[in-house]
């Protein structure tokens, strides 16, 4: 198609838009996962108040959904290949690249469940909300798989490679850090006993620590 090599027709534009919004969506979802992990460990972003972490986590997740919607709509509108709109949420409904798009649908389904349960959180049981929210640990990898699969030819070099590897490394590292921190958490029943021993121990050392408060620091009541 020599005449289209340098031209940008509407189909190509939609296709590029779909890829671009997909990339942005993946980046946003990566950021949302990282922020979510920070919320559970009460991490702070430098220069920002504490409520910013959870606020950004929530707002960015909504923006991410918007970008996913754009990503889906542009892909459906692109006439070069036929992808029915239902394929966005029904896995394997697309005859074109049904596996890879199916992965995207799975990820989107889970994401929608998380967003909806979070918006309705006040009316749901804590256990239900938490169970659905934990599915984020499934949704992100599935989205990542969808992202590396949809253009396998371009995958192994350039910025797409960096993107895929970079996001994966960052998420794996963050989850690993969070699990390690949780493993250091003391179970509730032992927390009190350990705190008492620690406080008694610090008390015994107070003569050596004159001037400093031997009883600083706080115990967290997180159940996770």
């Amino acid at each position: 198609m020599l005449e289209n090599v340098s031209g940008i027709n509407s189909s190509t534009a939609l296709w590029y838009a779909s890829r671009a919004t997909g990339v942005v969506a993946l980046l946003l979802m990566t950021a949302v996962v990282l922020l979510g992990l920070m919320v559970t460990r009460q991490g702070r972003l430098p220069g920002l108040p504490g409520f910013a972490v959870s606020g950004l986590h929530r707002n960015m997740s909504l923006i991410a959904v918007v970008f996913v919607a754009l990503h889906v709509l542009t892909a459906v509108a692109d006439s070069y290949v036929y992808i029915p709109l239902t394929a966005a949420v029904v896995p394997l409904a697309s005859p074109y690249e049904s596996l890879w798009i199916g992965l995207g649908a799975v990820s989107l389904d889970i994401t929608l469940a998380i967003v909806v349960t979070s918006l309705l959180r006040r009316h749901l049981s804590r256990r239900l909300w938490r169970a659905v929210h934990l599915l984020a640990y499934l949704s992100w990898p599935v989205a990542w798989l969808h992202s590396i699969s949809s253009d396998t030819r371009g995958m192994l070099h350039g910025w797409q490679f960096l993107l895929s590897v970079g996001t994966a490394l960052v998420v794996v590292a963050a989850v690993g850090w969070r699990l390690a921190a949780a493993a250091r958490d003391v179970p509730r029943a032992e927390r009190v006993g350990l705190l008492m021993s620690a406080v008694h121990g610090r008390n015994a050392m107070r003569d050596k620590l004159r001037g400093s408060d031997p009883l600083s620091g706080r115990e967290r009541t997180s159940r996770r």
Binding site: F51, S54, R122, T221
Partner: protein
Amino acid sequence: MTERLLVNPIECEGHGACAELLPELITLDEWGYPIVDGRPIPPALDRDARAAVSACPTLALRLTRVSLSRSLPPQSRRHGRPCGSLGRRAYGARHPALPKGQASQGG
């Protein structure tokens, strides 16, 4: 309808978002846990109070209705219904609130 703030001390993990958004009514103790002023919320702070409730990562902070016929002491653990919850229960309002059971023997 006047409301007051109530924190569920078990769900609260001391994130501190509430105190940042509503310092007039919520301060943090030396361990980062909220000390909540339980008096009815002045109308000027209503928006901030709702922001604080919605910002809590564990939904430990909630708004409950104050019955105007009885003023409740701060941080009282008397009955309160979170606004907007589904499944309304028939609370016998004509019966005065009961105290929480004692730590040792209750009843």
